[in-house]
């Protein structure tokens, strides 16, 4: 479904992705882990069109994404839940959701989302900035889902959340996964990621160094430790 081939990208003059290959099949849930500065966020930025690759190709359902603007990529069915949530703090919860939905079915999709996320339904008239961190993260995910994407990309959904709030976010994501959504999850919380994803890839210094299925990675912590701590 999603295929990155030999992707290179530069940020602030320096190359941050050095020829990255990644394939995600429809319905698959893939985690991306790696040390700070490995290029995980750059990978997501390339995927959703915020960082044009300097070489290589990105295709989604056989369609070339390179050169497309972020809004065009969203229309093709890739939704991003950005790091730090980035909800529209001064708009109401309902307005935030409405902005994520497109087309004539937007109202219906918004209503449906509020049924599905009861807390958001209860607080639909409140300013989004007044929600707690966990609720804001729910809103960010809901806002991505109302556009009916086929691939959901998440950047550090647990960042800045209390343990209990992290639990409820992952419960929610579990529900999304059961519905068959394809998910690409970037997370610093390694244990969570490996546990949640069928397959995880380990990035370091702009390329993928290792990958494995859930069981393999859980059985072989040495593999992870080799890549996650100090840079090689």
């Amino acid at each position: 479904m999603l295929e990155l081939r030999e992707v290179r990208a530069r940020r602030g003059g320096a190359e941050v992705l050095h020829g990255l290959d990644l394939t995600v099949e429809a319905g698959e849930v893939v985690g991306v882990i790696g040390p700070n500065g490995a290029g995980k966020s750059s990978l997501l930025r390339v995927l959703c069109g915020l960082l044009p690759p300097s070489a290589g190709s990105v295709s989604f359902d056989g369609r070339d994404l390179t050169g497309l603007a972020p809004e065009q990529i969203t229309r093709l069915g890739i939704a991003m839940v950005p790091e730090g949530r980035q909800i529209f703090a001064s708009l109401s919860v309902a307005e935030n959701l409405r902005l994520g939905a497109r087309g004539p079915l937007g109202e219906a999709a918004t209503a449906e989302a509020m049924e599905r996320f009861p807390i958001l339904g209860e607080r639909c008239g409140q300013r989004a900035g007044q929600l707690s961190g966990g609720e804001q993260q729910q809103l960010a995910i809901a806002r991505a889902l109302v556009g009916s994407p086929r691939l959901l990309a998440l950047d550090e959904p647990s960042m800045g959340l209390a343990p209990k709030a992290i639990d409820s976010i992952y419960e929610l994501l579990d529900g999304v996964r059961r519905e068959g959504m394809t998910i690409l999850l970037v997370e610093q919380n390694v244990a969570r990621t490996i546990d949640f994803c069928e397959r995880s890839v380990v990035m370091s210094r702009g390329v993928i160094r290792a990958e494995g299925e859930r069981d393999e990675l859980q059985r072989d912590p040495a593999l992870l430790r080799a890549y996650l701590g100090r840079q090689l």
Binding site: G12, G229, R230
Partner: protein
Amino acid sequence: MHGGLHSPGTVAVSAAAPLALVGLTVAIGASGSPSLQGTVAIALCNLIIVLGLQVFIGNSGVYSFGQLGFAMAGGYLAALLTVPASFSAFQTPGLPALLSEAQLDPLAATLIAVAGSVLLALLVGLPLMRTSTLAIPISTFAFLIVAYNVLANWDAVTGGSGGLVAIPTSTSVTSAGLWAGMAVLAALAFKWSASGYRLQATREDEAAARSLGVRLMGERMVGFVLSAALCGLGGALAAQQSGVLTPNAFYFAATVTTLTMLVVGGVRSVLGATVGALAITVVVETLRGFEEGHRVFGLPSLGETPGLAAIGLGVILLAVMIGRPSGLTGGREAGELLRRRRESCSSSARGHGVRLTSIPREGAHLDRGTKRQELVADGVSLAFGGLQVLRDVSLVLRPGERLGLIGPNGAGKTTLVNVISGFQRADAGSVYLGGGNVSGHSPARLARAGLVRSFQAALPFEQLSCLESVAVGAMGTGAGRRRAVGEARAVLTRLGLLELSAERAGSLPAGSQRLLGIARALATRPRYLLLDEPAAGLNDQEGAELVEALRDVVADFDCGLLLIEHDINLVTELCTRVQVLDQGRTVALGSPEAVQRDPAVIESYLGSGYPAVAGA
């Protein structure tokens, strides 16, 4: 000349490039026809004014539309001081005898004009710099209008809208060039001074700068006054070049033109001001030639085309804004451009990344002999609208202690830190530092007293290098440039960031930007350090390395640490006591182990799945 923040080569090239441009301009002008000489001399006067704009706008990031008012002041003062008494008698009959009979030599008149502009800037700046960042463009514009109308309507003293004539013309291409060269050096020296860095820090992020002890209004005032001095100089020289002066000379049109020059060249750099001023002058003068129906550079005449020059200016501004929004120079000095070029050729496979484990311990022992006492928040309450965020919360942080502050999202942790660090006023309750009541003190004042916080978001000074960012921390609390650089290096070494010194803070990955935020705070030599989720964006192993580094650093720097963090393992590792907030109240306080066993804490914060998940 600039102790360590830039290599001597970078400094030399950065100064040499704009000076060479000025020199080239002088060489072209001095050998030309009298009319070319006049054009070039005026261009150099304009350059001095544009450099004046750069000093304030470029370093503060705040647009002022009033700086040409100081060029008016300088121009009129120089004119009134030099016009022969016989002309003053009918031009400006109401002028006090002291001025009308004075007929100073050009240099004395110019210097007095600059001094007058500085005085005026002090007078005007005191109220204007108090207004908010968004209000300064409007309030400075108001000043420009007032200045113009005083000059245009006070006929007896200023000659009114007709202006002044018979000003002795003493400004030559060479003298204007010399002054312009000095203005270039002054603008660069300010940009690279401790004061200039503090001002640039406010441009990059107001809140972060204030948290490091930078006094927003004071630093803006310094830039505003120096800017006024250069604008006054440019105005004085221009008046003594053309021999006539009307209030219109430095009004709307001149404001627009000089601002365009600065923006086209690149607001943030002295090179940008120089390139912009000279390039726009060449283009405008060429178009003006066409406009008047002359042949220029051997090109055929278009006949008279009024407005061509103004249209050209607009088109250039648009094109630059679309194609190169940070200006032709990208807002960088020549040395920085050169260094960037070299680096981009050799930057392959350069990994950032945190390296916290192999930290040398030497060189960072910072001695603080002051007597220390506790940081106390006493009975703090605060409501936003109808929402009670803090309810009678008290907190004690002892010298050298590491206290964890945890609780669900929305419990009020960050708000409490905001209150303690002066970013938010409480409805009730007080904060004491070293025994004194510091409630309501500004963040900058508290930082200078040794209470410094970091932010949940990294708030990097994007355009500054890592070394500069951390040095600003030391400068904010009063260190000079040389000492600041030394401390910055020591702190960067301790946090394993030294090899990133020359990188722009904005180009680092998120986790490193957070570390840089901590480094910045440490460079202030805090007595109390409040960290808001320092480990967010780091993985477990990096988090563990951060704990080690923080433990060492806090012990060496001998400061109390308040740590907001959701990673309970990290809090347990680092903190000796933990305070738990829920819905604005303290619900538990004790050792990390005791707090984790507290049923109320498990219920509200950790969740029933704990410790199965957290221990994984």
